[in-house]
């Protein structure tokens, strides 16, 4: 076990835990700790092995290496790839230097990213949008034209907007680890690199649709939902069905009684809780296919939480109680 202090909060974690995981554990265990103490991630995905280490969004400063060697680390480190040491002291949001470094990283991520949020289906639930918003990068200092690609259809269900890709490798890890038949990969190197696939050998793996959920931006989107609605006009509901291929536990995004989109349920870090199969994701677009449990939990800071009432029954009870109280006063 190692004791690590992050932004002044102490937590004891098993050896071999990364700083990022420790920070997430800290937030999970202590509700009073600001959730921002856990660094934001664009490429790291806890459910995908060997993910992380590409984007540098999660940089933190180690002010004390360990109990035995208390020297600080010379540069900000990627918290998703740095393991904790006993007695380590880490600063994240309490350090202006880290925030400045992260701001630089975000600016780099945005260099080739188009500003087509008004068109993009991911807008409203996009991690890059949140990150850019958080760091106030409304303007670009980049003067050159951005790289553009033609749209690619990866099979009948998935659309690849290579222009929007930030090279996080998550989709490739999904293809490697979740599906048994890898269908896409990275071509070329450096700033010329791009995600690509053999279109002729279009994927028909049952779990290929999960690349949409792991994509932090709108590079991989659902063709069955393409331009159907903005996400904040749809209501996410936790629902399930008996599925032979996956757990069948999904979030369905409804507009009225219509199911516009099916995605995996997301945890508080924006990661899929259960991988779901393509059948559930793309084929079951009828409300009768699903048993609706309850409205999904949406952070109230998200635009999706607009008009989204998670506990309508309780709300109605409260209103009824208040009305009775008012009537009693009269």
């Amino acid at each position: 076990m190692a004791k690590v202090t992050i932004d002044g909060h102490m937590i004891e974690v098993p050896d071999g835990t990364t700083i990022l995981q420790a920070a997430r554990m800290l937030v999970d265990k202590n509700p009073e700790v600001d959730a921002k103490v856990a660094p934001p991630t664009m490429c790291y995905y806890s459910k995908l092995k060997t993910s992380g280490g590409y984007c540098r969004t999660c940089v933190v400063k180690v002010t004390k290496g360990s109990e035995k060697d208390p020297r600080p680390m010379p540069k900000p480190v990627a918290s998703c790839r740095t393991n904790v040491m006993d007695g380590m002291e880490v600063v994240n949001i309490t350090s202006p230097e880290v925030l400045e470094a992260r701001k630089g990283v975000v600016e780099f991520l945005l260099i080739n990213h188009p500003l087509d949020c008004p068109i993009c289906d991911q807008a409203g639930e996009c991690h890059l949008q949140d990150l850019g918003y958080e760091h106030g990068l409304a303007k670009t200092r980049y003067d050159f034209s951005r790289r553009t690609f033609n749209l690619i259809d990866i099979g009948p269900y998935i659309k690849l907007h290579m222009t929007r890709c930030i090279m996080c490798f998550r989709c490739i890890k999904v293809a490697d680890q979740i599906t048994n038949n890898r269908f896409q990969g990275m071509l070329f190197r450096g700033d010329a690199s791009e995600i690509s696939t053999y279109i002729e050998k279009a994927i028909d793996n049952d779990f290929s649709g999960n690349v949409i959920d792991v994509c932090p931006v709108g590079a991989l989107t659902d063709r069955t939902f393409r331009f159907k609605s903005r996400v904040w006009f749809t209501k996410p509901m936790d629902a399930h069905r008996n599925c032979t291929k996956c757990s069948g536990k999904v979030a369905i995004w409804m507009k009225g009684n219509e199911v516009l989109r099916v995605t995996a349920r997301k945890d508080q870090w924006g990661e899929a809780i259960d991988w779901i199969c393509n059948d559930c994701r793309f084929e079951k677009k009828d409300a009768k296919d699903w048993v609706i449990e309850k409205p999904s939990h949406i952070s109230r800071h998200s635009v999706i939480s607009q008009n989204h009432y998670e506990n309508l029954a309780q709300l109605k009870l409260d209103i009824g109680k208040q009305q009775k109280q008012i009537a009693a006063k009269k």
């Binding site: 008004p118 068109i119 903005r230």
Partner: protein, 201 residues
């Protein structure tokens, strides 16, 4: 008591003259009579109209760009900004060959504003990243049924031949204030930069 004009109601008995009511009636009639010689508070609408304020916000317009393509990309920001929830839209994907009709890859197939709900606050204009929707100095017509107040694209989108003039409210000062928006989303507006601006392709 905020106005200092409130009066305490007195319930004291009226005098004989007060009970006759005649002085009160005559003083009232005198006030009415003097109004014959005063300037009328009303005008003969619709033959006459009052001067509009420079910042008057009336019926919306969906603008076209320089090439006559619709600017609106159905991003839904106006609808989400609308406090009266008056705006609804359905988006569609632009097909090859329709580039002269719609500026972006996505466009509004249906765009409706319920003019009975609209409070003309101008938040939609504020929210629009594409410089598509503006409130103009035109009045909304009156109709006999509620249905007619739901304005669709046929009314809202300006015609190619007679573009709607916005210069009254969109003055150079206002445009300067909004420059940030142009910078980010609308390349054509960026006069100061010679190089191609990113953020748009």
């Amino acid at each position: 008591m905020l106005t200092n004009r409130s009066q305490v109601v007195s319930k004291k008995e009226m005098t004989l003259i007060e009970k006759m009511y005649l002085p009160a009636i005559f003083s009232g009639m005198w006030i009415t009579f003097t109004h014959l010689f005063k300037k009328s508070a009303t005008i003969r609408y619709p033959e006459q109209t009052r001067e509009f304020s420079g910042i008057y916000r009336g019926q919306h317009v969906l603008k076209r760009d320089e090439k006559g393509a619709e600017r609106c990309t159905a991003c839904g920001l106006c609808a989400v900004a609308c406090p009266a929830e008056a705006i609804t839209m359905v988006s569609a994907e632009r097909k090859p060959g329709e580039e002269h009709l719609y500026r972006e890859e996505k466009y509004a197939k249906i765009y409706e504003i319920n003019m009975l709900r609209c409070i003309f606050c101008g938040d939609c204009e504020e929210a629009c990243p594409k410089e598509a929707i503006f409130l103009t100095d035109r009045k909304v017509d009156s109709f006999y049924t509620r249905k007619e107040f739901i304005y669709g694209k046929s009314i809202l989108v300006e015609s190619k031949d007679s573009p709607i003039d916005l210069t009254k409210r969109q003055t150079p000062d206002v445009k300067e204030f909004k420059l940030d928006k142009h910078y980010a989303h609308n390349q054509t507006f960026d006069k100061n930069k010679k190089t191609k601006v990113g953020g748009h392709h």
